[in-house]
Symmetry: C2
Subunit: 392 residues, 2 copies
């Protein structure tokens, strides 16, 4: 993989503007950001200096992945066999060497100190938590000048480079393909968990190898009937419930391909939709299109939200659209910038990538949401996901 | 669900012994430990005082799960709709109320400050990272007496109560059942990702509802041929490769059921095993049985490791068993206590739960590992997983 020189340039500029001599990151999402390298385990670290090229520290058993990064200076270590030191001992040694090499002891070094995520724990294997031990390793190597660079990293992450947008497009394409399985499976008598598991299966099987992808994983959440209403819309967990004729069935689909994320939602009915269901769906579809049409550099998050929200309000469903229109996405399933909502302080810029996901949730009827991922370009919103099928 | 009064009693005793007035935790794995509550998102907090009962703070949209916890004092908040405050604002307010109520301002409060995990990032949806923001919320509520209680929490977690062991048994049974899919799928021409995805599918579909389980998810990793050897055994990631006659095929299977974990490994051959493959398998199987037979309260981690390792050394494969025999497990896929290895400082005690996973990895031949989960009881090792099938 060629280096993303645009990302490297922006990072150096941001470090210089913040008067940081370097930044050191371990969270996989920030390793992807700063090096293009997708760590398979949490033992990799990127050192990115204000001048020059980044250095990647990584375990030898991941070497299959090294050529996929844009980094040429990779410091490899052996670990996790009885005869080798543990990862943290390797990282402490190698970071100490870098601090000496670059004469950075006591200089101002940024660290991902305040990263914290509201996480659907049911979705995770092991937690990725860079806690006090990693903070100590960095402090031991570089001295007292280590400062929290979390805001700087979130801002860097908000504006994607062209290469990153192409990676995000691949993730959204893989997710889009798998939604065929959703449409096929969302039929009467099928259990929610069967539908969700079929979509996850499709992502692993069809996504691995898709346009060169090495790793693809889905996190499908499928709910139906009453479970789709407002009280339950947050991180809906598929259950044992069998789909019934007349249900709204909703899929909330997170998907990661080589460290880049997609987030799509589709809603269908089991059997023929009722008139009210169709009216709700058509309203959502119009709101979704209006918000996407409002996407352009310089538009505020509030404007893009209002473009769709006005349609929902006009249709009499304003109180039932209980949440934001969109959130940032990229190196993680949900990112803070840009936020597209009535109370958003953000203004869209070229390179922002965010969801557009209006929804209507009615007690007794159910909930309906459509969600796609949009990149902000000079020509307006570029929808990265490509799936269209009807309500029933 | 009745409260796990044994867990509550032990926690109070540990807090009193450590002269802590309370502990406050947010990582889902510690919320499960201290309350029996499995949070679907990362917005829940448990306050556990040195005297009295725990208090759970949780979002209303998770209320379906509340009766599964053993906590009666649940402080519910509304969040994640435009009209409600964000989770952290709710948590700050409610923890402040508790600090006032219990007169704990400035008292000694434990916090999960050093939790950190070497995480296979490819396995996660969103990171679970309790960072500086949560630390600030706890400090604002309780004052300057907040101290790092990570070691205390890890020690509490190491010794499971009888109720917790039954939960872990369910997780291992769900994982065991799904291994039928592994055996069926591991045939010539099938791709690694297809085998892995079929196992994950089985866990979601068959595990949800199993003995009352609400949430089940698998993290199957399937590798074959050269990818099973020593340089690649760490967190092996299934690829597009098609299985070939004569391959060793290995599954490393993490599985979570309602917050409790299993970790199993099986190895088969595609078609008939060669004489050397059979010798390796038989050696591993004998080592696995010998280590399990050595499990008893009072045995050292070194002894249990050596019981199996001696068999592998005697067969001439000592250098090819490159890793530990076992690690702790329970509230996370991998836990630090007890460690069963040549360099382990731990002595087994009743209530410890750990893996037994000898392996032999040979360049040119491949790798073979068998892994089960064992609870330490007064009568010896109780294997929680129940799957047996042959090599070919």
């Amino acid at each position: 993989m060629p280096a993303d020189t645009e990302r490297f340039r922006r990072t150096r500029e941001a470090l210089q503007a913040a008067k940081l001599d370097a930044v050191v990151c371990r969270l996989a999402e920030n390793v992807v950001l700063l090096s293009g390298y997708y760590p398979m385990v949490g033992a990799s670290v990127v050192f990115f200096p204000a001048e020059g090229e980044p250095i990647l520290l990584a375990p030898r058993f991941e070497q299959e992945y090294f050529p996929r990064s844009g980094v040429t200076d990779i410091r490899v270590f052996d670990t996790w066999q009885n005869r080798y030191p543990l990862p943290n001992d390797n990282l402490a040694r190698l970071l100490g060497q870098i601090a000496d090499e670059r004469k950075l002891k006591g200089m101002r070094i940024g660290f991902e100190g305040s990263f914290e995520a509201i996480a659907p724990n049911g979705m995770i294997g092991e937690p990725t938590a860079a806690g006090a031990p990693t903070r100590k390793i960095v402090g031991d190597a570089f001295g007292d000048g280590v400062v929290d660079a979390t805001d700087l990293l979130y801002e860097l992450r908000a504006l994607k480079t062209p290469m990153e947008i192409e990676k995000l497009r691949i993730a959204s394409e893989v997710a889009s393909l798998s939604l065929r399985a959703f449409k096929e499976q969302a039929v009467e008598g099928r259990r929610e968990v069967e539908v969700a598991a079929a979509v996850d299966y499709a992502i692993t099987v069809d996504g691995t190898g898709y346009k060169g992808a090495r790793f693809a994983r889905g996190f499908a959440q499928v709910t139906s009937g009453a479970a789709t209403t407002a009280g339950n819309w947050n991180f809906p967990t598929a259950s044992d419930r069998k789909l019934e004729r007349g249900d709204f069935v909703m899929i909330e689909l997170g998907c990661v391909v080589d460290g880049y994320w997609s987030d799509l939602t589709r809603t269908v009915t089991v059997g023929k939709a009722s008139n009210q269901q169709r009216e709700i769906y058509d309203t959502i579809k119009a709101a979704h299109a209006a918000s996407i049409a409002a996407v352009r550099p310089g538009a505020s998050g509030m404007e893009v939200d209002l473009a769709g929200r006005a349609i929902i309000v006009a249709a009499g469903y304003g109180d039932a659209f209980v949440h934001h229109t969109g959130h940032g996405i990229g190196f993680r399933y949900h990112e803070p910038i840009p936020f597209v909502a009535p109370h958003s302080p953000h203004v869209l810029a070229e390179g922002h990538v965010h969801s557009v996901e209006p929804g209507i949730y009615l007690e007794g009827v159910g909930g309906c949401r459509l969600e796609d991922i949009v990149a902000v370009t000079a020509r307006g919103g570029d929808t990265l996901s490509k799936t269209d099928f009807g309500l029933d």
